[in-house]
């Protein structure tokens, strides 16, 4: 038995468009029977490549306080209790849904029992399969602010018998932290621009805060005149792979093709990266 299975590999980058989806989709497609999870719930796109057969759909809800104005006596205990400042009291309790973190605390402290927590739909999760890859994608409902409850649902019940590749949202804020929280290894994808290097620095700091093992992939690699490469050299960061800047990769991606499922010459880069990543994660 290989007890190294069940490891979770998160793919992140400070900046959008650096190649998180390219890397995570291709590694998952290469690694037999693995799972790909698209945590970029604001604009999920991994499914456009995998085109999975949807096996299950789940609606994700979040609780919100509903106030019974007839029972409320205006004591403001709920307003004082809410550490997120999602409530105000002006003649009656005002609820700011976008700020509420669904902690249910207001309902607990209300002496009048005037607050009921109701379920509100915030998005959905799809579970499907594409050849031998399991594909999970989260979709935040248009107009909703926080994808965190959807991400936490996506990361529940992970297949412990195989590898999981987590395609993170861009940036280094709450949604990314939620996505990498339980990861065994983090891949930071960066591109050869000053902006790319600046955002690489942000996620580098983040994975350090979380004490994660990590390595960098230099995507769109054209040579050594590369701010992200310089950042890695300066900070002694391990580079686990380089993906060439290639017209072919761009063309295949633009029509939703998975590179490693084609005869592309770029397939080798991903095979090398996967081999290295699996060694790292099992160390």
């Amino acid at each position: 038995m290989n007890n190294n299975k069940g490891k979770k590999i998160a793919v992140l980058s400070g900046k959008g468009g650096t190649g998180k989806t390219l890397v995570s989709v291709n590694l998952a497609a290469l690694c037999p029977n693995s799972t790909y999870i698209d945590c970029d719930v604001e604009e999920p796109n991994g499914h456009l490549f995998f085109r999975p057969e949807i096996l299950k759909e789940k609606i994700i809800t979040q609780t919100r306080p509903q106030i019974d104005d007839n029972k409320c006596n205006g004591c403001k205990k709920c307003v004082e209790f809410c550490r997120f400042n999602a409530l105000a009291y002006i003649k009656k309790v005002m609820v700011f849904d976008d700020i509420c973190h669904s902690c249910d605390g207001c309902a607990l402290v209300c002496p009048q029992k005037a607050i009921t927590m109701i379920n509100e739909e915030v998005g959905k999760v799809h579970f499907g399969k594409s050849l031998d890859t399991y594909v999970k994608s989260g979709f935040l409902k248009v107009g909703k602010i926080s994808g965190s409850p959807i991400i936490s649902n996506l990361l529940k019940n992970i297949d412990e018998s195989n590898y999981t590749f987590i395609d993170c949202p861009p940036g280094s804020a709450c949604a990314v932290m939620e996505s990498i929280k339980d990861a065994d290894y983090c891949i930071l994808v960066s591109e050869p621009t000053i902006f790319g290097a600046c955002n690489l620095e942000m996620v580098h700091k983040l994975v350090n805060v979380f004490h994660k093992k990590f390595g960098v992939i230099l995507n769109k690699y054209t040579g050594t005149n590369n701010p992200s490469l310089n950042y890695c050299l300066k900070n002694n960061i391990e580079i686990i792979g380089k993906i060439p800047y290639s017209n072919e990769i761009a063309k295949l991606s633009s029509v939703g093709k998975i590179i490693v499922r084609t005869n592309s010459s770029a397939k080798k880069s991903f095979e090398d990266i996967l081999e290295k990543v699996l060694k790292k994660v099992t160390k």
Binding site: R83, F84, A88, I90, K91, M94, I99
Partner: protein, 109 residues
Amino acid sequence: MKIAIPVNEKNENTAVCPSFGRTYFFMIHDTENGQTSFYDNAANTTAGGAGIKASQSLVNQGVDTVITPRMGNNALDVLNAANIKLLKTIEGTAMQNIKALIAGELVSL
């Protein structure tokens, strides 16, 4: 009239603070007795919902008029619900703004 204005320092010649919810202090001027006071804005250090918290505390203190360069939507909802009069600041110190308001020279936000 009890007027509130977000300010950087605790004196009448202070500059107006460009932020409403996260201002360090509010200057309160009561036109009934001509008295001016200052208080620390507890919402300044909160992670979120600062505008809501700052607005609630102004309402709790019986403020009926706010002069500010800007404010967010949530703060606006709270102050509107409380029928607080909202006016836009002009260039100058906090006290100059109060005088301009009394002279009827300020426009609504």
